[in-house]
Symmetry: C2
Subunit: 155 residues, 2 copies
Amino acid sequence: MSKAAKIVAAALSLTLLAATASAQVVGKTEDQIRFRQSAYTTMGWSVLRIKANVEGTYNKDQVIEAANVIQAIANSKMGTLYQPGSDKGKGWEPTRLKSEFFTDKEGVPKVAGPFIKAANEMGKAAASGDQLAVTEAYEALTKTCDGCHDKFKRK
Amino acid sequence: MSKAAKIVAAALSLTLLAATASAQVVGKTEDQIRFRQSAYTTMGWSVLRIKANVEGTYNKDQVIEAANVIQAIANSKMGTLYQPGSDKGKGWEPTRLKSEFFTDKEGVPKVAGPFIKAANEMGKAAASGDQLAVTEAYEALTKTCDGCHDKFKRK
């Protein structure tokens, strides 16, 4: 490695360290895996609640409650639950996170960004009480779930 | 049973049925247990995040993110995940819900009400950014967690 490359590498390491320090990490690997499995399952419950409303009798309050849960979790920096090495281990069950999650530096924001955006749009649509807007936001949101699962979750 | 008692019983059944119909139930017993274990674990993660902030370096955004998760879940009608019979069964793990949950009709609102109130107070305190208010709200909130666990959760 050239001296310049070494300096760049050292600077990059420091930047990554700083990023890790400013993010908030709680729990060991097993806890992180259980926390993220729990958070996705809680969002899954909320998605099912919205689905039942858009496909059946619409109840504005139920949709708002469920959308608030999804939006709050989506904006809670779940990325901190993906510390290096957490593609192996067991939370409630063995993680299905693909190792590519830690190497595909461009791929992760490409799925995380649209998910957070869709969750925020879902919150807005829910608050409006407009069933058509909610249906569209629901479909857009579930596409972002699938987008990440296809890329980073083992079958 | 007298005729009057029968009429009262029938009216009560109808009221209970109506209450069940207006609440939103998704999933079978095993799903409900997994959803509630997930929701409490997600709140547990968020409580740990707030704890780290009140005991260490305070970061307003982290506390808001975590408090939003707790508040959204607390207000999401988790009671619908406690359908009769769900004191037995397995979600991620066997449920530890005591059967008294379904018979102690006065005890449940006595623990659920203060929990929801404390979660809402936590949200307000987080938004204010006042570390002392957050510390007090955090302590009040965790007391309501313990209050319910002592009464309705098996060791």
